[in-house]
Amino acid sequence: MYDVVVIGSGPAGYVAAIRASQLGLKTLCIEELIDDSGKPSLGGTCLNVGCIPSKALLDSSHRYYEANKKLSEHGINISSLKLDVAAMMKRKDDIVEKLTGGISGLFSANKVESMMGRGSVISQNIVKVTKSDGSSEEVEAKNIVIATGSSPIEIPAAKFGKKIVDSTGALSFDEVPKSLGIVGAGIIGLELGSVWSRLGSKVTVIEALDTFLPMTDPDISKETFKEFKNQGLDIKLNSTLTSSKELKNSVKVTYEQGENEVEDEFDKLIVAVGRKPNSSEILSKELNIKIENGFIEVNQYCQTSLKNIWAIGDVVRGPMLAHKGSEEGIMVAERIAEKHAEVNYDLVPSVIYSHPEIAWVGKNENELKDESVQYKTGKFPFAASGRALAVDQSTGFVKVLSDVKTDTILGVHVFGPAAAEIVQQALISMEFGASSEDIALTMFSHPTVSEAFHEAALASNNQAIHIGNKPR
């Protein structure tokens, strides 16, 4: 009998398991993914086929791009630049292996047991684990935590195959496709598009919506659209893929751009239209736990209608982000141990690891207008930041939105160098209810790109030093 059985070892599941064990609970974590050598591959989508490998390739491709296009500006000339895709992929695979192996290490250090197989909840206290050889085993649990994650959505117009791939496939091409089509201009599509575009692919992004990155602040949406186009991504908005066909050496696609039907041909086609929660065949029907649009229904503490069954991460409501799942994992473990814990869903940061990065937290201007909140804006361009100019990353800006009356920071939106790290600084302050003046009164090291956040906070109160302020 375990105190806690966690199904899934992604960033939600493994974190929940480690914390539960730290709190003195006997904990088991079940994972079905097996690597090429037959060992369980812990870490879920994030470590195996998501955040980490994509960041490895984003970095490698950026280095290549810099060497290819940018270093000569610095007076560094390379005469025979050569791209070795296999070596690049190996580096990525090594990082993944190191990190997934790291989780096994963390499990043993924290006395978390792990078991290979596919877990499903057959009664309120029993989890059935089906092994890859077809055999199965039942484990008893006082508490069950479902952290089964999500998978890429497949669309009828583009069934996955050899040349039509999902995000996972796009992380392991063995050569650079000359032309690459991407369906979906979301975070995943843009990151993968950036990788292959830097390595030499001609990238076309087909996006059904007519707004670019509609979840971002309107300024971010406008500026980043320009920048992506500059970088060579051909983004076709208001375009819906209608059909696709794998040919011998290419993929032929048809899409409707507004009224027009357009045909095109790519070496490879990546479908990145979103992800769906992995909730089918996890819960026995008799448990009567509701599943809505694939998401397991839970309260604000990730508890299902059965008090000892919990669900966290991508399989429940909220953004499908590793850090959100991890925080839910911590909360659930703490709550099982009868401690107080909660997740502040108002402050979930989002990042797009393009170059420059895009990151934000809190409300954007569209949302504040919809909610009729009286806000003020403080903006500072990286073009006015000494450090940003020195490191040749002066595109973009920091934008701080705060309440007109109370000065409380409501949202921070960054497009530019180290955007994710700057947003993190903002988030910490917002967690403590900071006002823009709090940031304005805080010392920042010079020269850093973070100073742009300082200046944007100062600009919120018309006190910016290194840029003109709005006329009052």
């Binding site: 008090k307 009868e338 107080h340 109370t406 409380t408 006002s435």
Partner: protein, 399 residues
């Protein structure tokens, strides 16, 4: 265990007070010696402290109600703070039930953010009554701003009793306790004494020279500025010793001669005029007097003067000069017999040895109770003060 929360024992001179505000609500946990309510009397604001750790179970006298000395104003449940919420069990909760965090109610030791610190000190706000919304019960800038605007609206709404019916704007508000006490006292002094004022003027040149010559050294040595007020206090003490009747007071048909010189110094504050008393001024040196004046004015401005510090007094000095008054007739501080009014210093032509000189001059006014003092005594008392100020060496020689 349930205990009564009582208002503090008021001094004899204080008849009653008003609950100014409750800093804690019913159900709030408090630590021993934490301030739970404030009572405004006609002299000071008194704090009601928690006698032990526990929880406020009942508020009997709400804000604005009048209370007398040692009256029960609420009830209090004694008990340790941290055991209060332990009985809830997570396992038993319903799907929708929230588990209340064990709240840390102590905001005092929390470090405030820079903007909060700035606004608190700029606007001189006491952070204690501000309701915190930040992490771990920290006060945010928004909390301070909301506190200020709430205070503004609540002050307006609670004080406006009626608006005039006509379209010409008019607002009727009740007097604060301090203001109505001042009003009552002033009228009774005018009615019950035979008040009369005598004037003189003093050449401030010698004191000015003394200050410019020794001011810096004095401040360095004693850590307080060399002001004008100290000289007036010392001069008054010397004069009071020579004229003990000025230092006396009437009690019924008796004259009470005081064997000490307690000098009241009028300080203007936002709430009104208060008069802290420098006790045994005759035994104090000039630096000691300057220090107590500084301490009292700071306390007065922050509403921290205790009743004890304002009681008694055998003579009062009031300085209308700080506001620019050239001449005025001060009103007695009953039951004292005399009050000295200082005024602004003005360069004026004066005749000295048949020559016209420009001198920094100050008019002095002394109001006195003619029942006790005759004109001769009052006038010579004032002349004595004038002479000491014009020749400060007299202070040294006890002349």
């Amino acid at each position: 265990m349930s205990v009564e929360i009582k208002s503090p024992t008021f001094p004899e001179s204080v008849a009653d007070g008003t609950i100014a505000n409750w800093l804690k609500k019913e159900g709030d946990a408090v630590a021993q010696d934490e301030v739970i309510a404030e009572i405004e009397t006609d002299k000071v604001v008194l704090e009601v402290l928690a006698q032990s750790d526990g929880i406020i179970s009942k508020i009997i006298k709400s804000e604005g109600e009048t209370v007398i000395s040692s009256e029960v104003i609420g009830e209090f449940e004694e008990g340790s703070l941290d055991t209060s919420k332990k009985e809830d069990s997570t396992q038993e909760v319903e799907l929708t039930k929230e588990i209340e965090p064990t709240k840390d109610t102590n905001t005092k030791n929390k470090k405030n953010g820079p903007a909060v610190k700035k606004i608190l000190s700029e606007k001189n706000i006491d952070p204690a009554p501000i309701k915190p919304t930040g992490k771990d019960n920290r006060i945010t800038k928004a909390d301070v701003i909301n506190h200020i605007s709430q205070k503004d609206t609540s002050e307006e709404s609670s004080t406006i009793v009626s608006e005039s019916g006509s379209d010409r704007p008019e607002k009727r508000v009740p007097m604060s306790r301090l203001r109505s006490t001042i009003a009552k006292r002033l009228v009774s002094v005018k009615q019950e004494t035979a008040m009369l004022t005598t004037f003189n003027e003093v050449d401030m040149q010698p004191i000015k020279e003394l200050r410019s010559k020794y001011g810096a050294e004095f401040e360095k040595e004693h850590d307080v500025k060399l002001g004008f007020m100290g000289f007036f206090v010392i001069a008054a003490v010397q004069a009071l010793k020579k004229f003990p009747l000025v230092n006396a007071s009437i009690d019924g048909t008796d004259i009470v001669y005081h064997g000490f010189q307690d000098i009241g110094v009028a300080v203007s504050t936002e709430r009104g005029l208060v008069v802290p008393v420098i006790k045994d001024a005759d035994t104090k040196s000039l630096p000691e007097i300057e220090k107590s004046i500084l301490e009292y004015s700071d306390k007065a401005r922050n509403g921290k003067l205790s009743i004890d510090e304002m009681q008694g007094g055998t003579f009062t000095i009031s300085n209308g000069g700080v506001f620019g008054s050239l001449l005025s007739t001060p009103i007695l501080n009953a039951p004292q017999t005399a009050i000295l009014g200082m005024h602004s210093i003005q360069d004026r032509p004066v005749a000295i040895n048949s020559e016209v000189h420009i001198r920094p001059m100050m008019y002095l006014a002394m109001s006195y109770d003619h029942r006790l003092l005759d004109g001769k005594e009052a006038v010579t008392f004032l002349v004595s003060i004038k002479e000491q100020l014009e020749s400060p060496e007299r202070l040294l020689l006890n002349l």
